[in-house]
């Protein structure tokens, strides 16, 4: 079985935010909710690099471990999804997540946040694949259609890689050999530590 992973090649990311836009458009993500974002460190000084980040679909996911209503599940492909019908919007997954992936449609006094929303690796949710209910709550289910996540597909420099972890690692390994840079599997140490 495939084990889906994201990898962002920081040598290639040009901070165009195409992935962010593609994601918003594909899933009709509401205002204020950002399933993916691009962060630039050392902005304006030598060594500046950008990285696109979303839910990394962690092994032994922290979000799933703390959820009071236990609404997360991991698909056979290693994708971490959640059930919005069960979510109570407590914010605990946001406290636990290393990557700041969980998002809330509201942010008001008295802990009002609304149902959590996050990157689904374009794999929808517990509803029937491709159903209207699934689209409304979680966005398009591209995985069920045999497609990869739209963010990586749309990436203009192919900095953002999505797919089976081994294949992604192979592509990346080839790149670093060609350009003889040091490998930096960004975020993998945190997200997939439990794998090894």
């Amino acid at each position: 079985m495939a084990r889906m992973k994201f990898l962002c090649d920081a040598e290639r990311c040009i901070e165009c935010n195409g992935c962010v836009t593609a994601c918003k458009n594909e899933h009709e993500v509401p205002w204020g909710v950002n399933r993916r974002r691009v962060v630039t460190l050392d902005d304006g000084v030598p060594g500046e690099r950008s990285i696109s980040v979303a839910c990394m679909h962690c092994t032994d996911a922290p979000c799933a471990a703390v959820c009071p209503v236990d609404c997360f599940y991991t698909t056979d492909d290693g994708i971490v999804l959640h059930d919005k019908d069960l979510c109570i919007g407590c914010g605990y997954c946001f406290y636990a997540c290393p990557f700041g992936a969980p998002q809330y449609p509201q942010k008001e006094a008295f802990g009002v946040r609304g149902k959590m929303d996050k990157c689904t690796f374009c794999a929808g949710g517990p509803e029937d694949d491709g159903s209207a209910a699934e689209f409304e709550k979680y966005g398009r289910n591209r995985i069920a259609e045999g497609k990869l996540p739209i963010c990586a597909e749309m990436c203009s420099t192919k900095a953002l890689l999505a797919g089976d972890g081994d294949m992604v690692a192979d592509i990346y390994r080839e790149r670093i050999l060609k350009r003889s840079t040091r490998p930096q599997t960004w975020g993998w140490g945190v997200a997939y530590k439990a794998d090894s």
């Binding site: 204020g32 630039t40 050392d42 700041g100 946040r113 490998p183 975020g187 993998w188 530590k193 090894s196």
Partner: protein, 356 residues
């Protein structure tokens, strides 16, 4: 090659996670005091400043860069959202381990032990009965005191049940109610806890302040506590209006609910843009202090109802039998009797007055 890089990363990670765990524990201690300041710390380290400083300090910008990422430095992003500029926030993993580990485990064991202790106490020591009933009563609690007590008590019980449902529901309630059933309950418990906490905060603040005078410890309390309140045989050291045990409960409640309210505010107002670190620490403080006051309340409820005959009626009707006063609060009884004979009728002297 990528794998190789991963293993070195992992080794570095495990060393780092120990260090981070230690740091978090230290932070917890400073917790309540330092929390409001953490926001400044994070926003204070602007990326450019940090980068420039780093540039001076060392020679390898690429290595510095990845260290910055791992240490959770703030970058620049067009995305708006809480701490959106931070790529990796390391505290969450420690928070998870503390909440899902010690807080949940020792919390559940602790509450179980307290309940068991009450049962054993009841079997071994049993109910402290009144020797006789004189039929004459003394006024102990004014209407205002009683209203305050029950207002706070009812809210406390609702907050405690809804609160521990969030903490333990996954372990104890999902197996019984099923995921859908529990989620439906939790979806109600959460807003109930969130909104009632305000009414609780107002009530307990007034109650604790009103009763603080009569709960200042004195030498008689120490003697009372050392004698075990007379529950375990031996002499029942005379107590004033409030005995040593009750004062201990007062101060547990005082400290516990201060921590409870202080940390609750961080959890209650996500709109104030607290950092995740602040909310993680607040949750741990809230959980621990919540369990502490719940444990205390179990003892308090037992002793106030089944444990001692005649105590509950004092808080319900405001009146206690003279025999009850003699048996449990001898110093207060003498004081009341003294003042009745001289002042003729004033049943309850100011509780703030010295009891010796």
């Amino acid at each position: 090659m990528a794998e190789q890089a991963n293993t070195t990363l992992n080794r570095r990670d495990s060393r780092r996670s120990k260090r981070v765990l230690f740091l978090t524990l230290a932070l917890l201690l400073l917790g309540t005091l330092a929390l409001p300041l953490t926001g400044y710390l994070v926003t204070g380290v602007s990326s450019v400043e940090a980068a420039a400083a780093q540039q001076d300090a060392s020679s390898n910008p690429r290595a510095d860069y990845w260290r910055e990422v791992r240490e959770g430095n703030q970058g620049v992003t067009t995305t708006q959202g809480p701490e959106a500029g931070i790529l990796i926030q390391n505290g969450g993993q420690n928070w998870r381990q503390i909440r899902q580990g010690p807080v949940t485990t020792y919390g559940a064991i602790g509450l179980g032990v307290v309940i068991l202790m009450m049962v054993i106490f009841h079997v071994v020591v049993g109910r402290a009965k009144l020797e006789t009933r004189t039929g004459k009563t003394i006024t102990r609690w004014s209407m205002l005191d009683r209203v305050l007590h029950w207002y706070v008590a009812i809210l406390f019980i609702i907050l405690a049940i809804t609160g521990i449902s969030l903490l333990f529901g996954r372990e104890f309630l999902i197996p019984v109610l099923g995921k859908e059933g529990f989620a439906a309950f939790a979806a109600l418990a959460k807003p109930v806890h969130d909104y009632l906490s305000l009414f609780f905060t107002a009530g307990i603040t007034i109650m604790l302040l009103k009763w603080i005078g009569q709960n200042i410890p004195n030498a008689a309390d120490v003697r009372w506590i050392l004698s075990g309140g007379g529950y375990f045989g031996g002499k029942h050291e005379p107590a004033g209006f409030v005995n040593g045990g009750e004062k201990v409960w007062y101060w547990i409640l005082f400290i516990g609910s201060t921590a409870m309210i202080g940390s609750g505010i961080f959890l209650l107002f996500p709109n104030l843009d607290w950092t995740r670190e602040a909310m993680q620490n607040a949750n741990i403080i809230h959980g621990i202090s919540g369990l502490l006051v719940i444990a205390g309340s179990i003892g308090h409820i037992y002793l106030g109802t089944i444990g001692n005959e005649g105590t509950l009626e004092g808080m319900v009707t405001g009146e206690v039998d003279e025999q009850w006063a003699k048996q449990h609060h001898a110093l207060w009884y003498e004081e009341v009797k003294g003042s009745t004979s001289s002042a003729g009728g004033a049943a309850r002297p100011s509780p703030a007055a010295p009891h010796e």
